[in-house]
């Protein structure tokens, strides 16, 4: 009896410890600052005083309706747009596949203000400031989530299931509806919930493409808190947004679990044959072309010098400018440094978190997603209040930047890992142990290869998110430590061709960095682990 109990409690201790890391991290860097700003906003003379009338105002109703419907439609469109490409990239091997995967990731990390700007330049005058422009931009941004999250899962599904179904006489439609969709469901729910959250809390796109007519919760909270300094209204809206996000996460989590995980027995994908080649080529070429147009517009503007073309704006990145306190190239180094630290933090917190979530800690799952749903403005204000004094006198320290970025990157790490962790076949490990493998061997030979791809995806996403993060960074970054998105924003805020040109050049640099990171993380982690 006694001998039986000891390993059990040992395992429980381990599980508790895995949950404790993310809980502590989120407790200090998310819950505490949020509590600080809510207290400042809603507690008057020691008494809670909530302006509930905000909830029933016409403005709130309009904002709520617009936020929900645009997020729903954007998510649906993103899934539709992303699935063909996820299929082509995860089920087949072809030359340039990793390049295509890198290209898909680029839009995701570009600061929203920049992409929205590219859309303004591209779209005809009538469409330019409409709901259509907003939806289109959301799809452009979030397609990477679908391709990455669904693709990573899809690649691990056993192809022989489809072969068997085909042999048994299932038509392509039947295979799609009764095999592919049910198997993919958890990954689809994962991707959809992230895309939904992103569209739900959209800010830059709404502000630039929607103009003053359209407002989401996020943009309205920003207006109330940062611009009008009406903290009471902002706090109520912020709580409403958090509640909505928590509900959405709960529903998607339930869906995901009900749908269960697929079997994973990853094999190297085959090359497309016959008609497949045409279909795969068509999907890849069309998707890449559509994603490239706004990116190309940025590249073109970065080399436009006067009425001709040249690399002057890139050369200018080495020179001092009144727009920044440091030469612009410092921003590139800062970004790499911060993003590396943020990725390390996000993985350090995210891996135990993913293990804990897989082990059934549902409340943690919701808590982890909440930073995506919290208004960056409110959280930024919370940071200013909460981290003012020692021992956490962080509000003027550069160290707060990677922490803020990791907060935003964390959900991606967890979402990328959980479906894969769920799907690791317990019997594989048991079989290996029975055959005499040590725990180290099990880890190296079975778990790491199976989890290498999701881990690479997680690290790549975290790094990319950190590189492109703007909303939280701009609240905490010091002027002598600008990141690339912050530098872009400062340049865009000044008149003159040189400033716009430098902003565009930095956009292109950011695009290049992301693409390189995506390529490298893919190569090193996947190939290295397979060896």
């Amino acid at each position: 009896m006694d001998g039986h109990r000891r390993p059990l409690s040992h395992a429980r201790l381990g599980r508790l410890a895995t949950a404790a890391v993310p809980v502590a991290f989120l407790g200090v860097f998310f819950v505490w600052p949020l509590a600080a700003i809510l207290r400042r906003s809603l507690v008057v003379d020691g008494r809670l005083d909530v302006p509930w009338s905000v909830l029933t105002s016409d403005t709130t109703r309009e904002v709520a309706w617009f936020t929900v419907w645009q997020a729903t439609v954007s998510t649906a469109l993103t899934l539709v747009a992303g699935l063909p490409l996820a299929w082509a990239l995860s089920r087949f091997r072809f030359r340039g596949r990793s390049v295509v995967e890198a290209v898909v990731l680029i839009p995701f990390v570009l600061p929203t203000v920049v992409v929205a700007t590219a859309f303004v330049a591209l779209l005809p005058d009538g469409v330019e400031r409409s709901v259509w422009a907003i939806l289109l931009a959301h799809v452009f941004f979030n397609v990477a989530i679908v391709v990455r999250v669904v693709g990573a899962f899809w690649a691990g599904l056993d192809r022989r299931l489809w072969d068997v179904a085909a042999t048994l006489g299932a038509s392509p439609t039947q295979r799609g509806m009764r095999l592919t969709l049910p198997l993919l469901a958890p990954a689809l729910a994962s991707a959809a919930s992230i895309a939904f959250l992103f569209c739900f809390t959209s800010f830059g796109v709404i502000v630039v493409l929607g103009g003053p007519r359209y407002a989401t919760f996020e943009s309205e909270i920003y207006n109330q808190a940062v611009r009008s300094f009406d903290l009471r209204t902002a706090a109520v809206l912020g709580l409403l947004q958090l509640a909505a996000v928590a509900a959405a996460v709960l529903v998607s989590g339930r869906l995901e679990r009900r749908l269960g995980g697929g079997r994973r027995r990853g094999r190297e994908a085959p090359r497309p044959v016959g008609r497949q080649r045409i279909v795969v080529a068509a999907i890849v070429v069309t998707s890449v072309a559509l994603l490239s147009v706004p990116l190309a517009a940025l590249v073109v503007r970065s080399v436009q010098v006067g009425s001709g073309y040249g690399l002057d704006h890139y050369a200018a990145l080495a020179r001092e400018t009144p727009a920044l306190l440091v030469a612009p190239w410092h921003a590139i180094l800062n970004s790499l440094l911060f993003a590396t630290a943020a990725t390390a933090i996000a993985l350090a917190v995210g891996i135990p978190a993913a293990v804990a979530v897989t082990g059934g800690r549902r409340a943690l799952d919701v808590l982890l997603m909440l930073p995506l749903g919290a208004s960056a403005a409110m959280l930024g204000f919370g940071f200013l209040l909460a981290f003012a004094d020692p021992p956490l006198d962080l509000r003027s320290s550069p160290a707060i930047v990677p922490v803020a970025q990791a907060l935003v990157a964390l959900p991606f790490v967890v979402r990328a890992l959980v479906p894969a962790l769920r799907a690791v076949d317990v019997r594989l490990r048991e079989a290996a142990t029975v055959l005499g493998a040590t725990s180290t061997q099990v880890r190296r030979e079975i778990e790491l290869p199976l989890l290498a791809r999701p881990l690479a995806v997680a690290a790549g996403l975290a790094f990319a998110v950190a590189l492109g993060e703007f909303g939280a960074t701009v609240f905490v970054v010091r002027a002598d430590w600008p990141t690339v998105p912050v530098a872009i924003f400062r340049f865009l805020g000044r008149p003159g061709e040189d400033n716009v040109g430098a902003a565009m050049a930095l956009c292109v640099v950011l695009m290049g960095l992301v693409a390189a990171v995506a390529l490298v993380s893919e190569r090193i982690l996947v190939r290295g682990a397979a060896r």
Binding site: N223, R227, E320, A348, V355, S396, S439, R478, L492, P495
Partner: protein, 349 residues
Amino acid sequence: MRAFCRLGLGAVAVVAAALAAGCGGGDGQPKDVVLVTHDSFAVSKAVRQSFERETGFTLRILQGGDANETLNKALLTAGDPQGDVIFGIDDSILSRALDADLLDEYRSPELSTLQPDFSSPDAHVTPVDHGEVCLNVDRAWFASHRVQPPASLADLVLARYRDLLVVENPATSSPGLAFLLATIATFGDRWETYWRGLRANGVRVVDGWEEAYTQQFSGAAGSPGKRPIVVSYASSPAAEVIFSSKPVATAPTAAVENGCYRQVEYAGILRGAHNEKGARALVDFMLSQRFQADVPGSMFVYPVREGVPLPKPFVRYAVVPEDPLELPAGEVDANRDRWVARWTDIVVR
């Protein structure tokens, strides 16, 4: 999975290390002076270094959003401020800072060197620069379309300027608010009628100056914009020349001298500043000949000190409006919210 757990637990050290790195920064010695300011603040490196050399303090700069947002952040942390000095409060929001008891009194000895317009401010603030919000026009567009550029605010409702104007939302933009105030100063009680006219004439409203000027205005270099009239600053044409990639003989844009609105920017010492001595030194320095001469080239605004020479492009391409519009700060403050709400009803809804 247990092995995998261990991988995760091992990584906890990374977080701990990151936190430790963050916590290590707190030191009590006021060697630094921290300036809290808006995104448009800039100072030449040499000027910044000369402050540090002369006073022995290190100047740290925190930038956060536009002037209004910077003030709001300071109000949020009033009494336990993020920095020692705040710079960039303009007249239209000044009273909010004064009412909230955000600032300590300080009268710089340098005040006597200022132009008479600026030399007697409220005891809590020190004027540092002034800038004028003016209409800017794309000269090439008007030349090629054989249309006279507008000469006054009243012209903008004429049919020949239909669909040509882009302005900033006064609810979200500082030049946008200044332009609204300019129309109120010009048309008095009839300002609402004027804006109905602008709306009927196809005015476009955008969120901020960046979008209006660099995206919608056709005259800015490299802009994809299609509208040749924008609300910007009197100094913007000079910026087009200074930041042009190729030397140009004439500015591609021009400011309309009529109907400009003056904004004065102030600095103040934040109540509860950690380094009060450094704060005073910084405020004094901002009025010094050296800093004042740097102000046009760095921030595209004008010095308040008497007898500070302007850089050449400013003399040639930027106008200093003779008689800019101004409204009494008290009147602006009492009516600002109501005016902006009315404006929103008339123009956006």
